[in-house]
């Protein structure tokens, strides 16, 4: 018995929740799960196929690897090719295709590219290799920002001159707002990312729920969590309510994690960001504050402008906007597989294409 895990995978309880959803749902409802972790759990457990047909689940842009623009992957590839650089990253980013190469390809050519589980390990590498430049690819949503912020603070405290971040941090609430403001939007309710909310708390989501009249439920990542979240959303929609209801209260507190929020605000500032597939969204990301500019790889290294190119076959943009599902792509499972990905959504273990491919869901 695994505490906090097995009980959330109880098939009997899942069946009850499904039954209750079917009993309550009267009108059609389009629900988006923002987080790629939820997408994988939904596809793996087949929840989308067990719901009554008036409930549609749409997959959102919550895959940090997938929304990192090609230009930044190209910059990472350029940095990783330098002889003085030890380029470090979460493992997910290594196989993401840039315009011409991925980080994994640079490594196979002899580049010093290392996959790490924590940015603190990159700081340790910089201490151990004073003659090399250690660059960490700071990718991710609000869940990885606290760790990356602490790594920068630690490097500053140790007086390191050979540590920097290539920053590509993005924020969830501005992406939700951009989707809701789009004329093409069909989404009527959101399953919010449970671990992002664990860090940030719920205030921004409460403002969105009230402002756009959409129900929002932060959820955990096991099947029972997701079904309970869907039930809460359906009940709200049927009752004409639009609130934030916290399904994941064992981890998410309304104020989030104050210590993490403080350190993020001390090291980073909010900035505009370009999202792969979504384009530029105002105030939707983080960059280092001016006082930490010495740790910004883009300012530290002369990176000549790169002409980024996307695969003409890949439709990951439409998938990240929730407009298409992976099996609707002609390249899905043919020219594009997890071993030979054309786009990031097939690479990452949070990407929608890899979720469908791994579950052998090749038909729409």
């Amino acid at each position: 018995m695994l505490k906090y895990l097995d009980e959330y995978r109880d098939p009997e309880l899942a069946r009850r929740l499904l039954g209750e959803i079917a009993a309550v749902a009267r009108r059609p409802l389009v629900i988006m799960e923002i987080c790629g972790g939820h997408t994988h759990a939904i596809i793996r457990s087949g929840i989308d196929r067990l719901l009554p047909e008036q409930i549609e689940l749409v997959h959102g842009p919550g895959c940090p690897v997938c929304v990192t623009p090609v230009e930044l992957v190209d910059k990472a590839v350029a940095l990783a090719g330098r002889p003085e650089v030890i380029f470090t990253s979460f493992g997910d980013m290594l196989r993401v295709p840039g315009s011409r190469e991925s980080l994994a390809m640079v490594r196979s050519r002899g580049g010093d590219v290392r996959s790490l589980y924590s940015p603190l390990v990159a700081v340790e590498l910089a201490v151990r290799h004073p003659d090399r430049q250690v660059v960490f690819f700071a990718v991710g949503f609000e869940t990885t920002a606290p760790g990356n912020a602490l790594a920068v603070r630690q490097a500053a405290r140790l007086g390191l001159k050979n540590f920097s971040l290539l920053v590509s941090h993005v924020l969830v609430p501005p992406a939700i707002t951009a989707l809701l403001a789009s004329p093409a939007n069909r989404v009527q309710a959101f399953i919010a990312p449970g671990h992002v909310c664990t860090v940030t708390g719920l205030e921004e989501y409460e403002a969105i729920a009230a402002g756009y009249r959409v129900p929002i439920v932060p959820a955990g990542f096991e099947p029972v969590d997701i079904l309970a979240a869907i039930l809460l959303l359906v009940r709200q929609a049927e009752a004409g309510r639009a609130e934030v209801e916290n399904e994941y209260s064992r981890s998410v507190r309304r104020e989030g994690n104050p210590a993490a929020r403080r350190t993020v605000a001390e090291v980073f500032q909010v900035s505009d960001r370009t999202w792969r597939g979504l384009g530029q969204i105002p105030a939707s990301g983080l960059t280092l504050r001016p006082e930490f500019a010495a740790f910004d790889a883009e300012q530290k290294f002369d990176l000549s402008p790169i002409q980024a190119e996307e695969s003409p076959l890949c439709i990951s943009g439409a998938i990240l906007r929730g407009e298409k599902k992976p099996p609707q792509c002609p390249a899905f499972g043919r020219q594009c597989t997890p071993t030979h990905p054309l786009g990031a959504t097939m690479v990452s273990n949070e990407g929608a294409c890899s979720a469908y491919f791994n579950a052998q869901r090749h038909r729409f």
């Binding site: 505490k3 589980y117 990885t144 630690q154 210590a259």
Partner: protein, 100 residues
């Protein structure tokens, strides 16, 4: 990157001025930074992201959700049908209380 499973804190120590710990995931133990959960104790369950513990799981809150879900289950059990109105599958249905 936003995925994480709960693990149990089995050791707490300081390293390079930071609060660190070992977290046990059903037998697999890994290191995590505990700076963001200053009040964490041995035996607490935590969610770790990219090497950083970000929350202490709240047993009381978890129990509250289960109580609500169990009510659903009890209601359906009383009716002897699932919530679609179909008879309960005899292989998966649990025996009702008081039944011999």
């Amino acid at each position: 990157m936003c995925l994480a499973v709960p693990g149990k804190v089995v050791e707490i120590f300081e390293e390079n001025g930071l609060k660190m710990g070992h977290v046990d995931y059903a037998g697999a133990v890994s290191r995590a930074c505990l700076e963001y959960v200053p009040e964490i104790k041995l035996g607490d369950y935590t969610v770790v992201h990219a090497g950083f513990a970000l929350s202490i799981l709240d047993e009381e809150e978890a129990a509250k959700s289960f109580d609500a879900w169990r009510e659903l289950q009890a209601e359906a059990d009383r009716q002897g049908v699932d919530l679609f109105g179909r008879p309960l599958d005899p292989d998966t249905a649990k025996p009702k209380r008081g039944q011999v």
